[in-house]
């Protein structure tokens, strides 16, 4: 029954390892860039606020597929951006996919953090300002730490969406799970349902614990008010 699972021929573990790597690297990138964007969106400088808002609104409304395809065809093949990947096609596409995923996910991270900033009571920032803290100090020492603790669960949802979105990297030929499934489903035509079931199961195993674990962490770390 499990003949189709020829691990010599199909590198199932390797493909899902690529999926995990894409998730982790672009997740870190999105978290950093999303935090910067959120800080811009609440900053006292109007130009930065406008840039943050424009970035989020444009990127959220653009298909991820377009962003990733553009990273490959536009940035790499036309403009010659290689992200220090040398001449190795796989490495370059892997890095371009991370760039695209991070740029896209950052807009969702930004919105999550901004909603977290809104949950911090007014008195916190007012007290901080009364002590003479500057804007960056208010944000860095008072508001963002509390905001992060309240958005663990929403960020977990963003992370789960990111895990699923890594499959889009198949569009530029990154050898991750979806591309392998496409390959297997075409070659093992008598076990289509089993192939699909296997991949579905692994994705559930990847996303479900993330949600449960981070949901629990989120409840524990949230500031009790």
């Amino acid at each position: 029954m499990f003949d189709f699972l020829d691990l010599e021929r199909y590198d199932l573990v390797g493909a899902f390892w690529v999926t995990v790597q894409l998730t982790v690297f672009s997740g870190i990138g999105a978290l950093v860039w999303g935090t910067v964007l959120a800080s811009m969106r609440v900053s006292p400088v109007p130009v930065m606020r406008a840039f943050g808002a424009a970035y989020v609104n444009v990127v959220r409304n653009t298909p991820l597929t377009l962003i990733i395809v553009f990273c490959s065809l536009g940035l790499h093949q036309t403009l010659g951006v290689a992200l220090m990947g040398g001449r190795d096609f796989d490495t370059i596409n892997f890095r371009l996919a991370i760039l695209g995923l991070a740029a896209y996910t950052a807009s969702f991270v930004c919105e999550a953090i901004r909603s977290g900033i809104n949950t911090v009571p007014v008195g916190q920032a007012e007290a901080a300002r009364a002590l003479g803290l500057s804007f960056t100090q208010v944000l860095r020492l008072i508001v963002l730490p509390q905001a992060f603790r309240s958005v663990v669960a929403p960020l977990a949802n963003v992370l789960i969406a990111l895990t699923k979105n890594t499959t889009v990297a198949a569009a530029i030929g990154v050898g991750e799970a979806a591309l392998l499934m496409k390959d297997m489903i075409e070659n093992e035509s008598d076990a289509v349902l089993l192939v699909f079931g296997t991949f579905a199961l692994v994705f559930i195993l990847l996303t479900l614990p993330t949600g449960l674990l981070l949901g629990r962490v989120g409840k524990r770390v949230a500031v009790k008010r």
Binding site: P63, T78, I117, A178
Partner: protein
């Protein structure tokens, strides 16, 4: 605008803000110049790469417009099928019978946890093997199937949240005047929940429009993004073609969001003048409170008081 994070700027802060503005603009201009220089270097700024979009009508009639029509067709089909399916699943998750709840819950959680691309691949191969759907329309079927399965389960959660957000008194009152369970649902709960659900439903429509692009690149469904690929192949203008395509997508999604926001505020106004209590503000405040409209404990209390 009054903000919570900084005071109204005095002379010194205003000067500092000007400095930050100048520095930020300089940085942005630097990045823009770098990008433009790179594009100019590769000949992507030449007029003949951009002129087809205004001079050559075939760019629109042969590529972009048919692509846009296909994108809209797939999105509309997916939404029209997913919405009732999602409503049924969402209601089933609130059923009094444990086995109905269990089945609906499993279906919803399963399809929500799987990337929509895997569903599309599976549907595409499945249709090829087990049905005699024509090759020509198979990608459309596969895209719509994938989108329906995924979005119906997301919408099921939206419907469930919408119904749960209603005050319990609504059900009690409906039961008190002798309505059956189905009547409570059809005449009392669902009509009110729709208002609460509208923003979520429309944001899901935007997600659907964006996800149709997957079918274009990976299944050969001739939608908007694929048409950009064809243009770039024909006119040798990769960057202009994809940029225009992105503008089209963003404009389409902005339009959807705007229409929905109008509709939502109108529906809500109508409800309020009628005196009915709808738990929409809570959902809305959780979802999209802006920086100038803080969700504080006091704010939450105010809503609950309505």
């Amino acid at each position: 605008m009054t903000s919570l994070l900084y005071d109204a700027p005095g002379p010194l802060a205003r000067l500092r803000n000007v400095l930050y503005t100048v520095a930020f603009l300089a940085l942005a201009a630097g990045v823009l110049w770098w990008v433009l220089a790179m594009m100019a270097d590769k000949g992507q700024l030449e007029a003949d790469k951009w002129l087809p979009f205004v001079e050559d009508s075939r760019v629109w009639t042969t590529y972009f417009l048919p692509g846009l029509v296909n994108t809209l067709k797939a999105a509309a089909l997916a939404m029209v099928i997913a919405l009732p399916l999602g409503a049924v699943l969402g209601v089933a998750r609130l059923s009094d019978h444990a086995w109905v709840r269990g089945v609906a819950g499993t279906v919803v959680e399963f399809f929500r946890a799987i990337p929509v691309l895997l569903l599309m691949f599976f549907a595409n191969t499945g249709y090829a093997m087990w049905t005699d759907i024509d090759r020509e329309v198979r990608p459309l079927y596969a895209v719509v199937t994938g989108l329906v399965l995924y979005n119906a389960s997301v919408l099921a959660e939206v419907v469930r949240a919408g119904i749960l957000s209603l005050p319990h008194g609504q059900t009690d009152a409906a039961k008190a005047i002798g309505m059956r369970k189905s009547q409570v649902l059809a005449f009392v709960l669902l009509p009110q929940a729709v208002t609460a659900m509208l923003p979520a439903i429309v944001s899901q429509l935007v997600v659907i429009v964006k996800d149709t692009a997957l079918g274009g690149v990976l299944l050969g469904f001739s939608e908007l993004l694929r048409s950009a690929g064809l243009i770039s192949a024909n006119y040798g203008n990769t960057i202009p073609a994809y940029l225009v395509c992105a503008v089209l997508f963003v404009a389409l999604n902005f339009l959807l969001t705007t229409v929905a926001n109008r509709l939502e505020s109108r529906l809500r106004r109508g409800k309020r003048s009628g005196g009915a209590v709808v738990g929409t503000e809570r959902l809305e405040e959780l979802d999209e409170a802006g920086p100038d409209r803080p969700v504080t404990k006091a704010g939450g209390g105010r809503v609950r008081g309505t």
